[in-house]
């Protein structure tokens, strides 16, 4: 469109292009993002990510997620090698297990799978801990994941022997 000298250009546009009457949106009013706005948004996002990391640090300090509580599990020798006993530790709602490994030693873990919290079971024949939900496997000696979706080891429970009894004393995530 050619500009007519001496005439109000806006008025001219409005008259010659009637669609502008129907869609009266000036591109100034559009959602134009300036470079500075963009940088401000990026800095805010960056700040939010930083705050998230700090919050995790604080949570880690406030709640070390180490649980200390002394609780009787069973008598020494109550469990044959290659067997497991399931109990609750540290609270009544937390399932845990103590294993008598094939070599006669003991190991105790939380029964909660580190993938999506299903219950994990000891399979002595395969010498593994198995989570049936998504076929997750853990090493019964270390609690480390060996196959399937779990990425973190099972929380380990410290076991102490005293007076012919076995006690759970602490759970480490």
């Amino acid at each position: 469109m050619s500009r007519i000298p001496g005439r109000d250009y806006r008025q001219q546009l409005a008259e010659e292009e009637p669609w502008r009457q129907q869609f009266p949106y000036h591109w100034d009013a559009d959602e134009a993002v300036t470079r500075r706005e963009f940088v401000r948004f990026a800095v805010l996002t960056s700040g939010a990510l930083f705050v998230g990391t700090v919050v995790l640090g604080i949570l880690g300090k406030l709640d070390s997620r180490k649980r200390t509580k002394r609780q009787l599990i069973m008598k020494v020798g109550e469990l044959e090698p290659g067997h497991a006993k399931y109990f609750h530790y540290p609270n009544s709602g937390d399932q845990a297990m103590i294993l008598r490994l094939n070599d006669g030693s003991y190991a105790a873990y939380s029964q909660k799978c580190t993938h999506l919290s299903c219950a994990v079971y000891y399979q002595p024949k395969e010498n593994t801990l198995h989570c049936p939900c998504h076929e997750g496997y853990f090493d019964p000696v270390t609690g480390e994941p060996t196959a399937g979706p779990p990425q973190r080891r099972l929380p380990r429970i410290t076991v102490e022997e005293q007076g012919g009894n076995l006690y759970a004393t602490e759970m480490n995530p």
Binding site: W27, R36, V39, G47, L49
Partner: protein, 96 residues
């Protein structure tokens, strides 16, 4: 009483970039701007990665100061971003 805006109010101003608050980059600066944007995006991605590593450490119950080191690195990026923002604001003020 509020006046209904007339359609003419919304028509473009014929002068380039008037009213948008935007200034097109000088020819040679386009590449610099793009490079800075890429570095910014990369730093944001790095911060996101730091956050996931911190989450992993937290879930693993690591009591050492690993998470704080990650938070420190993330904080440096925020401070850098803030400085860039301040610099841009100052330059804009000088231009006016």
């Amino acid at each position: 009483m509020r006046r209904e805006p007339r359609s003419v109010d919304y028509l473009p101003d014929p002068r380039p970039d008037v009213g948008t608050g935007r200034t097109p980059p000088a020819p040679g600066r386009q590449a610099i701007l793009l490079a800075s944007l890429s570095v910014g995006a990369l730093l944001l991605a790095m911060q996101l990665w730091l956050l996931t590593v911190a989450l992993e450490l937290y879930l693993n119950g690591n009591d050492d100061n690993g998470i704080w080191v990650l938070a420190g690195l993330s904080g440096l990026v925020v401070v850098g971003g803030g400085l860039v923002l301040r610099m841009l604001a100052r330059r804009a003020r000088l231009r006016w």
